[in-house]
Amino acid sequence: MEIWGLLNYAIFMATFIGIYALLSLGLNIQWGLGGLFNAGIAGFFGVGAYTSAILTTQPVDGRLGGFDLPIVIGWISAMIVAMLIAWPIEKICSRLRSDYLAIATIGIAEVIRLVIKSEDWLTNSARGITQVPRPFGDLPYFESQLAYLVIVVALVIVAYVLIERQLKSPWGRMMRAIRDNEPAARAMGKHIESRRQEAFIFGAAFMGLGGALFAHLNRSITPEAIDPMVATFLIWIMLILGGSGNNRGAILGAVVVWIIWSFTEILTDQLPHEYAIKAKYIRIFLIGLMLQLVLRFRPEGLLPEPQSGTPMPSEATGQKTKEREA
């Protein structure tokens, strides 16, 4: 019984980590590659989740949806709709510097959350959408979890391979050039805005997919899932800890941060009851502290960005700082 229990838990954790890895990979494209500070991941996550839920559930009175389409269509649509939403957002914010983009995207995620919470006809508002079908959901507990994990891991691997290929391609090199030295890239005639858009939209697709996978895992999606803490900031911490600019870092960050997040709860459970409740607030403190420690002692993350080609004379940060401030 013990072993089965642990195995179940490990599988569940791995599935969650997989979903977060997808979100983190998406963010890596936007931030690590494109230099775009997207603080509204929750918005794309929510859009993807709801799109898939609306498309794959049964018809319900008074609400859009009930198309009862196959799950795969739901997932692909989630990615497409997330990309569609990303396009105007990036267009509006394209001239904004990172701080401003961060604030704007926080606001956009909030508006998306409000719309989802309030519009009955679209999302069943605060009640959320339930009875979302789950692939292999009818199998017994262990098998069903395992099946879902296999699907998620497969998708993560596909995503990883896809993104790595893009990174190594001319497009990827151009993105890095733009990020590191924009004036030079512009002088060479590169169309900065379009490239940035591509990075933003490309990243958003994975966030939408992550949302869809989450909705189908729980057979439901409710507005509380679009909480900034667990759907945006946690992913940022994952990427920074893991190493922004590095895809393996993005995945590693998801692994480490989620394990720590989950583990801190077990720790606080061991305390006597009166302190256990207060201790739950301390979890947030620990996550904030972890972020500070990473920034202090290893801001490039556990797996720094792989430097391709000859290293520049003044190493990583120094030169880049001057360039970005200019």
Binding site: L6, Y9, R127, P140, Y141, F214, N218, D227
Partner: protein
Amino acid sequence: MKNFKSVLVGGLLAATALAGSAAADNIKVGIIGGISGPIAAMAPAMVDSAQLAISQVNEQGGIGDGQKIDVVLGDSACNPQNATDSVTKAVNVSGIVALVGPHCSGATIAAANSVTIPAGILLISPSATSPEVTSLDDKDTVFRTVPSDDYQGRALARTVLGNGTKKVAVTYLNNDYGKGLAESFKAEFAGNGGEITDFAAHEEGKASYRSNLAELAKGGADTLMIFDYGDGSGLTILRQALENGFFENFIGGDGMKSDAPIKELGGENLSTFLASSPVGEKSQSLEIFNEAFKAAGGDPDAIFVTTSYDATFLTALALEKAGGDKTKMSASLRDVSNGEGEAILPGEWEKAKKLISEGTAIDYKGAAGDQNFDEKGDVPGTYALFKVSGDAFELVSEMK
């Protein structure tokens, strides 16, 4: 790097396992609620009343041969991500046999769907009021001791009409709780000839709701229905309405029956404030619970403490009846609270144990209602209207 990674992962998982394998002798019951997050202010009291039930059980003989119940406390943070994570841990690592919670509807649905239903673990939520919980495909493992929003809203509508108030304005919190109550209220109230002059949602956490109140008051109603939480924006709205002279009468759902308005606004200012709450037919149950909870240092007026207590006590009764067999939990739960049998009131664990061992049928009559589950695991709920008297709430009348 790869080595380091696997060592790290392995180490953390091992530590996780170690943490979970303590005290394998006792029976473990999970209490999982929104300790951090939007309902953080309400959760501690609910956890406390659940703990009260457990300590009563443990003091009066425990389960079966005297096994004690260990509590596995978890934080759902009122969102599906944390809920599924903590419930999965509780079920798989700590090995709970039943779960009291989660508190929020979205969290409950997610946790049920991904863990407790597949794993066959009994789940009783004390506060998930969304109608979506009823329609879960749950193999009869999901129950709740709090009635669906539908019931309370309708009962309140009938009572308000019955008191002669035909014209109201409605403001509700924009979440599943507030919306559910408001919609069912509206359906019944308007459907029976009442007039709702304005029906508006509001978000929590704003500093001023005066403009909202001004809009609501435009219709000329003198009664405001507030479907919100008494220690959240419900408090702010009540305060600003009283201070600026909007509306004469205020009626709230069970979320407003909280000690926060009394504490912050003063009972003397709340003479026209009424709140509904689920109660048992034998109001004796409620009194017994109130005494016991007060003696244990808790506030019996806090939101959902009655349902939380009932859920936990019922879980223990089901455990006793099932004789430790996890697969019989649902049937046992129904057995101990189906309206037939000798009445067991809150705290009467010893008596219940004796009767169960003799094979006599028992029927739990809870502090928040009789808790006779229907075939979907819901309870119909009886309600009463409360007014503020001095520093506490006082029952005014039953609601039909």
